[in-house]
Structure formats: C-alpha cells, structure tokens
Point group: D2
Amino acid sequence: MTPPPDQCEWFHLRLRVRYAETDAQGVVHHANYLVYMEQARTEFTRARGLPYRELEAQGVNLLVAEASLRFRAAAVFDDPLLVRLRITRVRSRTLTFGYRIEHEETGRLLVTGETTHVFVDGAMRPISAPAFVLDALLGRQ
Amino acid sequence: MTPPPDQCEWFHLRLRVRYAETDAQGVVHHANYLVYMEQARTEFTRARGLPYRELEAQGVNLLVAEASLRFRAAAVFDDPLLVRLRITRVRSRTLTFGYRIEHEETGRLLVTGETTHVFVDGAMRPISAPAFVLDALLGRQ
Amino acid sequence: MTPPPDQCEWFHLRLRVRYAETDAQGVVHHANYLVYMEQARTEFTRARGLPYRELEAQGVNLLVAEASLRFRAAAVFDDPLLVRLRITRVRSRTLTFGYRIEHEETGRLLVTGETTHVFVDGAMRPISAPAFVLDALLGRQ
Amino acid sequence: MTPPPDQCEWFHLRLRVRYAETDAQGVVHHANYLVYMEQARTEFTRARGLPYRELEAQGVNLLVAEASLRFRAAAVFDDPLLVRLRITRVRSRTLTFGYRIEHEETGRLLVTGETTHVFVDGAMRPISAPAFVLDALLGRQ
C-alpha cells in the first residue's frame, strides 16, 4: 500500500519515572512501559498536528492489536527516560510503531518494542486508514 | 432523610496483593487502596442483588465525590487482605461507605477510610438516589 | 536442556475486571493484561507448592525479559475472565509462559500472549534455573 | 514546633492526562489523583534542591499516613492539568501538603486534597524530621 516510511525520523518523549510506577523489585513494573509507549504515541500525534483526542472526536480510533516488548535493563524511580518512537509499517488497515526506551542521561537502552494498531470507527468496526490520518502521521503533504 | 443504617453489617471482599500493586518501598502503593475499596463496592452491589454494571445500564452512576484514607500499617506482595465495607451515611443525593482493610491472617488493621458518592444520571447530572437503589443497597425490600 | 513440557496442562486463574482497569474506550486498558498474566503466574507458583514470595525469600527472582500480546477482543468492566497459562519452553536460564485469556461465560478468546523470564539471584545477576524451582514448576519429583 | 509556613507559595507541576489513567466513565479514575499529587511532591523536592531520591539515599523516607481528596469536576484524556501543592503543616514528626488540581486552560478547579506524611528511617521506624530536610523543603537556609 503505502511505501515503507523510511523517511520517518524518531520522535521522542521525555518523562520521569513516578514512584507509583515502580514495584517491590525496586524497578519500573514492566506493564508501565506500555503506558509510556502510549503516551509517546499521544505526543507524536500532537506533534504531527492531529492530536489523538481530535482523531477520536472525528470517529477514528486506533486500537492496540498487538504488542511486543523486550526488557533489556531496568529503570528506577525518578530516572529520566527518553521514549523514542517511529512508524515502522503501514498497511491499509493497520499501523505499526517501533520503540526504543533509553535512560536519558546514560543513553542506556532499556526497552525495545513494537505495537500494531487497527483503525476502527466510533462503533469499533474496522475501517481503512483515512487518508487525512496517514497524511498527518506520515508527515506527507 | 433515611435513618442511619445501623443495621448494616460489614460486607467483606478477600483479595491478594498483586506484584504490580507494590512500589519500590516494598509495600502496596497507597493509591491502590482506593482501587481495593472500589472493588469491594462492586462486590457489595452484586451481593445485594444490584450489580454496579446493571446500575449503570439503568442510567444510574455513583461518582466518587470525596475520599479519605488513613494508612496504619503496610501490606506487602501476596498478602491476603480483607476489605471490609459498610454504608455509614445516606442522604437524598449521596451515599457514604466506611472501610477497614485488614491483613486476613494476622488480623492487623492496615487502612481505614471513607468514600462519599453522588448519584448522577447517564448524562452525569446529579439526581436523587432512586428508591430501588437504596432499597437494594440498604438491604430493605 | 529440559525436554519440552508437553505434559503441562493449562493452569487457570479466575478474576473480575475492576473499574480502575478500564479506560475511556470503555474496555480494559491493554497494559492490564500483563498484570493479569503476572497474577496468574503468582497463583500458578502457589498451586505448584512454591509460592513466588517464597522463591524471592530464597534469593531467586524471575525477571520479565520479553512479552508479546495479541489483543483479539475486548473485555469490559466486571467481565469474569479466565487467565489460562502454561509453561511452553524451558532453557537453562529462561522460562517461557504462554497465555490465553478468555471471557469465562462466553468462552470468547480475548488475548493470547507469551512472557519469557530470566532467573536472577538476589543481586539481580543471571543464574541457571535452580533444580528445585524447575521440579516444582514443572510438577516433577 | 515550626511556625506555620505561611510564606510558602504554591508550587506547581504541569502534566497531561494519559489514556491509561481514564476509566469507562470517560474521565480520570479517581485513584490517579493520588499519583499526580505524589509526582508533584517529587518535583517539589527537586525544585527545593533535595530530590526525593537523594532523601531516600540518605535513609529518610516520607510515608503517606493520611490522604483526603475532594473531587469537584472531572478531567478527561489529554487534559492539561496544573497540580498545585504547598506545605500546610509541619510537626516534629509529620508534614502535611495541601493540593489544588486545576484544568490548566480553563482554570477550573477539579480536585482539592491533603496528604500527611511521617518521617521514617531506612528501617521504616518513625524519626523526627531532620533539620536539613525541613530547611530545604521550607526554603529556609
């Protein structure tokens, strides 16, 4: 469909690990990385001029269909993180993001991952990716 | 309005502390006690024959308007907890629950608290407590 | 190393979706499935006679190294879920669990997934899987 | 003990509501406000030159002993929030923070609250507030 978005640069979000996000092992609980990735997607859509909230208001939702994560090193409370994201695959009905989460100061790679999303309408029925959404997210036009 | 429900016995929910609910201090993160209390309310409404989900389906919601908690002792991962709850006050438009969260095996009191709720309709506008709701929750009928 | 644990039956945990686990799309937020899977592992270790808490007390931890999830259908507030789990791969230093999360009443398959864990000691250094752990988890002895 | 810190101005933290923090009512789940308040305390300690992580490294912890919240209006996904905080009471062994959470753009007051903390050492035993901590947090020196 759409050619691979090689041109896509990494977008990044800066955040700090909250106390509530750690667990008794003293590190960030692994489920929270999915939340960090989602926050990065939200900021990415805003940066591309099509905030996710506006997308929803227009009856377009991006459901998470698949997620995979590889945990390489742990983050602890108050660590400054860099959540890097880019679109790695575009299909007629799905979109895939790749992630690299790093410790901002040391540059250490903590987590890599990927999430694939399906486009659905307000009634949660699958739809083809609207052109205005792809144009915005892929930075075309 | 309605006389104080002195007759109300304590309802209780049993649960186990999940790893994800602990924090780097090695204990349950304090915000989770609000979640435990909410789960106890859900099970309480089911036990009274009016599951919260059904209440919502009928256009009645109970919004949390106030909450207070006193943290007396800590719980750790995998602790078996007893979340005790009872209705402590009924007004025309609000309902208050009192809680005592204990370690099930040692009986140690961990947290006490109170939440007050307002009745709202499906459009989130305040309404008077419907009679069928009070009848069910107060065990009248 | 250890032969594939074909003999392993599915273990299951029953749970109810909490209100706090839903999101504005009206369904369970996807990150919570990792928490459900973790809770299922905890109950699995207890059922096998080696509670995770005891494992930790003996200086053995199972860190999550990889996770993958496929979201097939959504669960909503108060849905009764069945989290099925089994060991799908055993290596000298890692253990992999497979999961199937279903709606308990309709039997509908909601989420499938896999998590791979590395054995570490109290200082978080990788170790070989202790024999007593494998014996318990694989139901040998 | 210490005179009331009238001089304390409101410190504030800006944040955006994450999708994962909403619930099926379409608004921020109430338990998350405790997390926002905690994040504001973390940033407050950093702004005062004594990051909470450093405090912990020196064997001083501030346990949450009490919390009370009043929910006045709801926030939704992606709302920009202002979490205002100030120290409202200082005792020899406890510290109390007051909070006002507002919608940053409309200025609407959403939540008010208070948390009281006890000072404990690394072994979680109550201690008197160390002078260097009070000096930093109260902006004396």
